[in-house]
Every structure is written in C-alpha cells, then in structure tokens.
C-alpha cells in the first residue's frame, strides 16, 4: 500500500500534526540544543564557585574542552563498553528466545496460549526496580535461586553474583531478558498470525519439515518485527537506568563492572556528597554516543519498507 493518497486541507493537518510537532520542538529539540550549549560551557560556571567571583574573568564558553575531558576519562569508556555488552547481550539473547517461545506457543489452543503469554509478560509489567529487588533477594546470594537450582545441581561452585566483577553484567543481562522476553514474544506471536493460511497449507502439502517451515515461513514473517524489536531493545538498553540504579545503589558495583552509561552520566551530573555538579561534562557525554545512534538510525530507516511508507 502506498502512503496516504488523499489531499488534506491545511487547517486540519495543522490540527492533527501540530500538537506532535509542538511537543517535539519543546521537549526534544530544545533539550537537545540546550545539551549542545551546555557541553560547550565552563563547568565551573555551574558550580557554587560562580558566586564567589573566583571565575568572574573566566569565559563562559570553553569550546571543546569538556569533550576532551570526557575523552580522557577511562570511566567513560568503561561505562560505554559495559553498556555495549549489555545491549548486545540482551538483543542477541532475547530475540532468539522470544522466537523459540513464540514458535512453541503458536501451535497451542487459544486459551492455554493466552494464559502462557500473559504469564510471560508479568515481569515486563513490573518496575525494573522491583525486578532488581527480586534479583537481589531471590536470585542472587549464596543460597539464592540461581545458585540453588542451577549452578549447584550442575556441579559448579556457587557464584557470588553481586560481588564477583565477572558476573555483575551477566546478571544484569539476565534481568533484562527476564523483563522483555514476554513482551517480544507477544509481538512475534501476533506477527506470525498474519501468515496467510494458504502458505501453511502449501507447506503441508509439499511435506516441508519443521526446519524448512521455520526458515521459509516463520522467520520471514517476523523479520521486520524482529528488526524493530531489536532497535527498540537496543535503545532501551542503552538508556536503561532504573534496574542498575536499584541493584547497585547508584554506584557502578565492584570495580565499576556494572557501570552503565546513563548511570555514569547521572553520577557525573549529580555526584553525591561534596562532588561538583558537572552538567557540561554530562551533556558532552550524552552527545558523544551520537555515532552509535547514527548506526541505529540507519537500521531503522531500513524499516521503512516494513512500515510500507516510502
């Protein structure tokens, strides 16, 4: 289907699109431009020091020095690396898992299928903070469920999930999988239902095996949906804050091995105790991940075909 083919009158189009455009300008573009402005300012201007007149003759704008400061900060790279691992881990695990679950659920009758999907969605409805609390109390710890039901029966040594720097990030990934898989499964199931019946009939008559059907019917039926879910999960993962904040109490965990990007931006902008509120550096950080976002934008633009709107 082509994109819209009626001609709308200008007045109505303003009514329909105006609110969106207005809010977009006010609460997306303005903060973005403010961020650019902030990132070029002298960070001393934003701390109390301004009032002591100490920096009175220092210029307000300092050019790219905030960016240089961030570029030399090893913690920034650590945070970006952790976030990247986190995003890649969640996306690569959630999509196949959700696909497998959707395939398993597809063959069931309506009632049990609905009940199962709803059960799978429950963690997605809970707040990430609640999930973190549950993770902390229920799954982690020496006697926690993960150790008790999975690691010890496998004959391995119990893992200290929260304190061992190797396992903080994986446990955060597990938490994200737990949260999103149900939602993605629901979307995949709905996508699979749009496969026309004659295709399945044809496959049955041809005597296609399970693998062939998966490859030639089911994967194509959710390919675009999967790409979209992947982009959404990547963005959400990169912007995720609540889960890690509650799990690690706002810190980065042992050796900062659980330090995520947004958590670090928050730490720089609002340090606890006597730290300096370094808004300019925080704004510079937010802008420095733009190349990664350009890649995502490229992926999203490929979706236009799926959105049948070119």
């Amino acid at each position: 289907m082509a994109k819209g083919n009626s001609i709308g009158d200008a007045f109505s189009l303003v009514l329909l699109l105006g609110p969106f455009l207005g809010l977009w300008l006010l609460f997306w573009l303005v903060p973005l431009l403010l961020g650019v402005d902030l990132s070029l300012q002298n960070s001393a201007w934003h701390s109390e020091a301004v009032h002591e007149n100490q920096y009175a003759n220092a210029s307000k704008y300092v050019g790219s020095s905030n960016f240089q400061r961030v570029a030399e900060d090893p913690k920034f790279y650590k945070a970006v690396r952790n976030s990247t691992y986190y995003v890649v881990g969640t996306v690569l695990l959630i999509l196949p898992l959700a696909f497998a679950l959707a395939l398993s659920l597809r063959g069931m009758n309506r009632l049990p299928r609905g009940i199962f999907v709803f059960c799978l969605m429950v963690p997605g409805l809970a707040m990430p903070g609640v999930l973190s609390t549950l993770f902390y109390l229920f799954f982690h710890g020496r006697t926690g469920a993960l150790n008790h039901y999975l690691i010890i029966p496998l004959g391995l040594k119990p893992i200290n999930w929260m304190m061992d720097p190797h396992f903080i990030l994986p446990s955060m990934i597990l938490q994200s999988i737990w949260r999103w898989t149900g939602m993605v499964t629901l979307f995949f199931l709905c996508g699979m239902e749009s496969v026309p019946r004659w295709q399945l009939e044809a496959a049955r008559l041809e005597g296609a095996g399970t693998w062939l059907k998966i490859r030639s019917i089911w994967i194509p039926s959710i390919r675009n949906l999967g790409l979209f879910a992947g982009v959404f999960l990547a963005v959400d993962g990169f912007a995720s804050f609540s889960g890690a904040y509650v799990l690690l109490g706002g810190s980065g965990g042992i050796l900062d091995s659980g330090l995520l990007f947004v958590t670090y931006v928050y730490q720089v902008a609002f340090p606890g105790g006597g730290g300096r509120f370094d808004f300019p550096a925080a704004a510079a950080m937010s802008l420095m991940v733009a190349p990664a976002l350009a890649l995502l934008l490229f992926l999203t633009l490929r979706l236009r075909k799926f959105l049948s709107w070119e």
């Binding site: 289907m1 083919n5 009626s6 001609i7 709308g8 009158d9 007045f11 109505s12 189009l13 329909l16 699109l17 969106f20 809010l23 609460f27 997306w28 303005v30 903060p31 403010l34 961020g35 679950l101 395939l103 659920l105 063959g107 609905g114 709803f118 059960c119 429950v122 409805l125 809970a126 707040m127 903070g129 549950l134 109390l137 229920f138 710890g141 006697t143 469920a145 008790h148 898989t181 149900g182 979307f187 709905c190 399970t210 675009n224 963005v235 990169f238 609540s242 109490g249 947004v262 931006v265 928050y266 902008a269 808004f279 704004a283 937010s286 991940v289 976002l293 999203t300 799926f306 049948s308």
Partner: protein, 268 residues
C-alpha cells in the same frame, strides 16, 4: 514430541516469570530472616503487619506516591495517545509536503529517547520554572515516536474508500479523523496501556525533576529499600506487590483487545 517440547518450554518460561512474583507476595508476610532464605516459599505465619504499616504511612506517604504515579502515567498515556493518533492518522492517510520529515522526527524520538537527554531536560524544566511539580513531566511524556509509528501502522489498514466517502461528503480531514477514530478503539486502548506501563516504570526523569511531595512509585520503592532507614524487607515486598497490581489488572482485562490490535499493527 514437538508438542510436548513446546509445552515444556512454555511452562518453564511461565514458571520462571511467575514464581518469583508469588515469592514476592508471600514474602510480604515474612520476617527478614525468612526473606534472606530465598528457597523458602511460604511464611511461618500470615500477618498483614507490613501492609498495614505501609498503608498507614509509617515510612512514607505511600498512598500519595501511588496516586501521583497513577495521575502522571494516566495523564501521559492519555495525552500521548491523542497526540500520536492524530499524527499517525495524518501520516497514514494524507499526502502532503514534509510528510517524510515528520516520519523522520518520530524516528529520531525513538532512537534518541528522552532519558538520554535527562540532564538538559532537567536544565530546561528549571528554565521553564516547572521543576518539582507532577505537571512538569506530563507534557514531556506526551510526545513519543513509538506512538506515531504505532498509529501509522494501525490506520494504514483503514479502507481508503471511507476516506473517499468523507471527501465526497465534503468533510475536512480533521472531521474525518473525529469520525473514524472510534473505529480504532482497540488500538487506542492498546497504545494507552503500553505507554502507561512505560511511564509507570520511568525512574530517571522523576528522580531528577520531582520533589518529595510529588514522588512517584519507583522513587518510593527505592526509598523503602534504602539501607540507612532499616525498614523491614517485608514492607518493600508489600509495596512492590501493590505496585504491580494496577498494571497487571489493566493488562488482564484488556488482553484480548490488545492482541487483536497488535495483530493489525504487526501485519506487514
């Protein structure tokens, strides 16, 4: 064989997703010592002490933050549904200049979400003088890229003939939208719910922008778990249970409606 395997996978998944929440609910009756034994499911005795002290506001004004969350998420979701439905309808059904630009704006919103602009958003709300109150976050939460894409997909499936009829009748695009939008009721409800959940879970912006009085649930829950207050774990478990109830209830009631709407949206 495959069927059996499918049932096994699904049951395992459902168990993993439900059991911890059951444990959470039952933990609101437990003592700290019992809670630190995660393999224990049932408490020794059922006393509603944790719920009572939570609802009486012994630690913090729980009812107030619950209400704040309901108002904020409900308002954001309602506004977002209206704004996005209009934009999505225009993009799906009308041909006009700059349409591509609007679509691009929506995509930008998706890939550069407001959480990543949190610091400058904080600054901006300060300039507007909105900091602190619940209303300050209502409008920023009402603009969403996902919504525009969602409604674009949804309205695409409306038959073009109806628009043709509206055009012959001489109705303006705005009037056509008003007449046709009730047909998309399942879609409207679905998007309302999805946005409600996302804003119900929002933590970073409320943490930055809201003051003590207009604290939302995620902030209240974090506060209950704050080690320096020495609040029994059972209380935070009770609060967590109560925080899930409204969303789970809403999803359970509208689940069938949601599935039918999502089938249309995901139809490619």
């Amino acid at each position: 064989m495959i069927r059996l395997f499918a049932w096994f996978t699904a049951s395992l998944g459902a168990l993993l997703c439900l059991y911890p929440f059951l444990w959470m609910f039952l933990s609101s009756f437990k003592t700290n010592r019992e809670i630190y034994e995660p393999t224990l499911l049932f408490p020794q005795s059922y006393e509603w002490g944790a719920f009572a002290s939570l609802l009486n506001g012994e630690y913090l004004a729980f009812f107030q933050s619950f209400g704040n969350s309901l108002v904020l998420s409900g308002g954001q979701a309602f506004l977002a549904t209206m704004v996005s439905a209009g934009a999505g309808f225009a993009l799906a059904k009308f041909r006009f200049r700059w349409a591509g630009v609007f679509f691009f704006l929506a995509l930008m919103l998706i890939i550069f979400p407001k959480q990543s602009l949190a610091v400058s958003m904080f600054e901006w709300l300060g300039i507007l003088g909105w900091q602190g109150s619940l209303w300050s976050l209502m409008l920023p939460g009402a603009v969403t890229g996902l919504g525009v894409v969602f409604f674009l997909q949804l309205f695409r499936n409306l038959p073009d003939e109806w628009l043709e009829i509206a055009r012959i009748e001489g109705l303006s695009a705005w009037r056509t939208f008003q007449l046709l939008v009730p047909l998309a009721f399942p879609g409207l409800v679905t998007f309302f719910l999805l946005h409600f959940v996302l804003s119900w879970q929002e933590h970073l912006l409320p943490l930055l922008a809201l003051d003590e009085e207009s604290m939302t649930l995620p902030l209240a829950l974090t506060k209950l778990r704050d080690a320096s207050f020495r609040i029994p774990e059972a209380v935070s478990m009770a609060a967590a249970t109560l925080s899930i109830l409204p969303v789970a209830l809403m999803f359970a009631v509208c689940f069938r409606l949601m599935k039918s709407a999502l089938r249309e949206v995901t139809h490619s």
